[in-house]
Symmetry: C2
Subunit: 347 residues, 2 copies
DNA sequence: ATGAAAGCGCTAACAC
DNA sequence: GTGTTAGCGCTTTCAT
């Protein structure tokens, strides 16, 4: 037993409240839950006592007995990432709007490895989980899915087992190229990683990076332009990679006048390199990103970007999950969410 | 009962594993937990069976019985805020390093109000909670603290009841001013809110905004400069406020050559306004922020900032909380974490 | 309208 | 080394 600590009185239970109110434990439970079959007067008394005693129900007991927690878990890769943090916020909102609680967890890159395969790698008391990180192997995902419903964000739809919602990677990228062209760019660079996303989907043709590249190809050929090894600069997905890739771009023979960056973070890095080379944006060079991170509005120059509809993303994810929790056995739903071209200063 | 859903087999329990392995339930439990007193051979067999059956323990039952969950809750104001998201990430790390699980929740501005005072506003199954948001009334905090240990980040130390860790607001701000001065600035503006922080600490002399202003005063007088109504520009704590305040600054009679922004977000807004007015940073005007948000390294120009030690912050918060969970009744500990002046391009 | 009993899955304490 | 018993706080079911 834990020793009685400073300020914490041991939590009152239903039984304590029942005794204090002079009724049975079930009457208290029913009163607290607004269940019918409790006299108004009794309910009032019970509520008063419960409040006075600072009663609150023990969620473990409730979950154990009822088998549900009304808690939805969201697993993200890193909180300190502008894309995930915006999505996390939207999900948290949407989950609460549906009367559940949102619990977020950050998954580091399998840091703990398989040291103890039997310890639960994830909290198992929630009713379902929304996975928005690429840092989880599909094997692990399947293991989680053994016990509870799972919905996925930005996963390749190669295996048709989970509800999935994806960004409009291909169309969005194509529109980014068209936007640059409409703004007068004729030598457009594409900067970013073709293998954006989960490790074990590197080979998939449906990973976000590949899809964005594909969208670029389509737009380029529509516009009568060409996209080649010389106009695409492969790099990681963060600002640091963007800085380096921009240096390579600047060192090339081609006089680029604009760049589509596969993520906003890459775009920020590109913007830094351009500034260091005294290249004016948007006058001499235009930049458009992809992701619509909140901070894009606050940087200088403010970033023009393909902004996915976060609200819609969250809504689709939560709707799908709740219907699975309700027992739906329908075929996996594949959703592609819309986006807008948010035009700011950089293009 | 929930109807059997598509892919989810009902979860195996200790009992199931025990039967399958032909041993008692306790032997399974002990084997799984590496407790002594289980023959190596038996343990091996049990582990094999458990793994084959995909057994994982039911956390609700475990918590209910043992009274602890090894879960630590972190309540932040908004995930989509660069300061909180970096701190959230550091806390998540530190909590896992201590063998616990981190669960994060975002608290919106008391949106739900008091509609149902008896429903638990926060998940109550965790062992303790770390509160890093200013959006929680002290009343609500006290209510949470009734049942479990609570530690606070950036709260005024007026009431001496909780362990608290704060930024070095006053010293950091003073150093920001000194840095600007050392870089040659002679007309320094201070931009930010004096009531940065929780609503109900507006009147406190220890709120973060007031402390930062106080640090400025100190440095100004040390340097033989003056700080007045005319050199301090009050505004909110976000980039939008920063943009507006910078316009006011630029419209003033004083020819400012540098600004200390009370937060990095404000600094970003100021940087935007300066760029729109074709004022070069750092050549014509220098900017230093406060917070050390990750993105400060990725914007143009890269932001010079007072960067608190996030790792140390997380460590102090987690250490304090764990010792309370262990039953410590020592006097509340007040920690002020260190910082570094991270010099980049803007100053 | 209210109460009693059973038991969710687990672990602490104690037998064998 | 291994098994048995009791009970954490709650809700479901059924009795009154």
């Amino acid at each position: 037993m834990k020793s009685v600590s400073s300020s914490q009185q041991s939590k009152p239970t239903l039984k304590d409240v029942a005794e204090a109110a002079g009724v049975s434990i079930m009457t208290v439970s029913n009163a607290l839950h607004n269940k019918p079959g409790v006299k108004a007067e009794t309910r009032k008394k019970v509520l008063a006592v419960a409040r006075r005693m600072n009663y609150s129900s023990n969620p473990s007991a409730k979950m154990l007995r009822s088998g549900r927690s009304d808690i939805i878990e969201v697993i993200v890769g890193s909180f300190d990432n502008p894309f995930y943090s915006r999505l996390a916020s939207a999900l948290s909102d949407e989950i609460e709007r549906n009367g559940r609680e949102a619990l977020l967890r950050e998954t580091h890159y399998d840091r703990r490895g398989e040291e103890n395969a039997l310890s639960e790698p994830f909290s198992l008391f929630c009713d379902g989980v929304i996975i928005v990180t690429p840092l989880l192997s599909s094997e692990k995902i399947k293991q989680i899915a053994l016990h509870k419903p799972v919905v996925l964000h930005e996963m390749p739809s190669d295996d048709n087992v989970f509800d999935t919602v994806n960004l409009a990677n291909e169309d969005g990228a194509a529109d980014a190229i068209r936007h640059l062209h409409a703004k007068g760019c004729r030598n457009i660079a594409v900067i970013g990683s073709s293998h954006l996303g989960p490790e074990d989907m590197l080979l998939s043709l449906n990973n976000p990076g590949t899809l964005r590249y594909r969208g670029c190809f389509r737009a380029f050929s529509e516009l009568g332009l060409t996209m080649s090894q010389d106009t695409a600069f492969d790099c990681g997905w963060d600002a640091h990679s963007g800085r380096e890739a921009a240096e390579r771009m600047l060192a090339s023979d081609i006089a680029f006048d604009g760049a589509f960056c596969l993520t906003d973070s890459v775009a920020l890095g590109v913007l830094q390199t351009l500034r260091r080379h005294n290249i004016r944006v948007p006058e001499d060079f235009k930049v458009i990103g992809f992701d619509g991170i909140s901070m894009g509005a606050d940087v200088s120059p403010a970033l023009t970007t393909i902004e996915p509809d976060y609200r819609e993303t969250a809504r689709a994810l939560v709707t799908d999950l709740l219907s699975r929790i309700d027992g739906s056995t329908a075929a996996p739903r594949k959703t592609i969410v819309g986006y807008t071209i948010t035009e700011r200063e950089s293009a």
